[in-house]
Chain length 169, copies 2
DNA sequence: ACCGTCATGTAATCGGTTACATGATTCT
DNA sequence: AGAATCATGTAACCGATTACATGACGGT
């Protein structure tokens, strides 16, 4: 626990994932890859630094193995849960995402739209297929609401992108 | 001109904007705000550091006023143009944007979808209206292809977002 | 026993954001 | 002439990406 700072999205990702179940940074890496990473990637090194930071701020408890690998397992504290749910509830006003699409950037700066569009259509189609498969695979189980919704959002976005870029061909 | 590095999107934004016409970092700020900033914002401080960096690497020429404000006006060099067009042409393969939508993140991590959706619908609608107005204002003139296309993309994205979040209400 | 790959972590670098600061203009 | 705002720039901090490094384990 030390000097205050504004928590970042990465902080909340860590808190959110640990809120379900304690784990090591490496576990978190796997959890991110399992779903969240599809629309919000996190470098694995961040998971080490961010867990350490959050622990030093009192949002996580750290439990280190005494033998072998001496892995550090983190679990969320009361304060951590409080910070997380404050963030989840706050800000009904909603910040909007920036688009930040590298393809669009190139078009804006003068690239040939048709060339970019061709590549984008292919890439979005590939990702769309991947996500659709994922959805089929998951729909056999109960899909927790949050991840299910974001997957739908991703699929929706990919479809729209394919349509948009196709219109430029 | 010194040690090599990979140019960043910010680098290409600077190069791209200066390719049309030389200017000071402050001019660039205005140009970004005029259009690009709608989908890819750049902090003004970056425009100072990035121009300086690019100049030291030989991609820009720097011309400093000898009197008054001693403003620095930058113009793109041959090497700069070469780097820019290499980037514009390259990578037909296309990296995809990450969604990185804060609203989606909250939903994934357990926020109440309806609450988030309500805020998102409102915010996206506001931005949509703004962009539609912008489009009307611009369509009186000839809109250069690049910016025109990205504006359409933005409008399209906003419409889809409104629809998506509305479906969760 | 060796090799490759997965697991696990630390260190260094660097771009980006925030904060600070001051010189011109314009308006009242 | 003073206040407010726009123009213009520098400095410090910090999170994020990249690179590096080593331990365990499964297979041949």
């Amino acid at each position: 626990m030390s000097g205050d700072r504004e928590l970042t999205p990465t902080s909340y990702i860590v808190l959110g994932l640990l809120a379900e179940e304690p784990g090591t940074p490496y576990d978190l890496k796997a959890r991110v890859a399992a779903g969240l990473g599809n629309f919000w990637s996190v470098q694995h090194a961040q998971l080490y630094t961010e867990t350490a930071r959050l622990a030093s701020e009192g949002f996580l408890d750290e439990d280190r193995e005494t033998e072998g690998r001496r892995r550090k397992t983190y679990s969320i504290t009361k304060a951590g849960r409080a910070a997380l749910s404050a963030w989840l509830d706050e800000d009904a006003v909603g910040e909007l995402p920036e688009i930040r699409d590298p393809g669009l950037l190139k078009v804006y700066l003068g690239a040939d739209p048709k060339v970019i569009a061709a590549a984008q259509v292919a890439a979005h189609k590939a990702r769309l297929k991947e996500w659709e498969n994922l959805k089929v695979a998951l729909s056999t189980f109960e899909v927790p609401t949050g991840p299910g919704i974001t997957l739908d959002a991703g699929i929706n976005y990919a479809r729209v992108s394919v349509k948009f870029w196709s219109s430029l061909l």
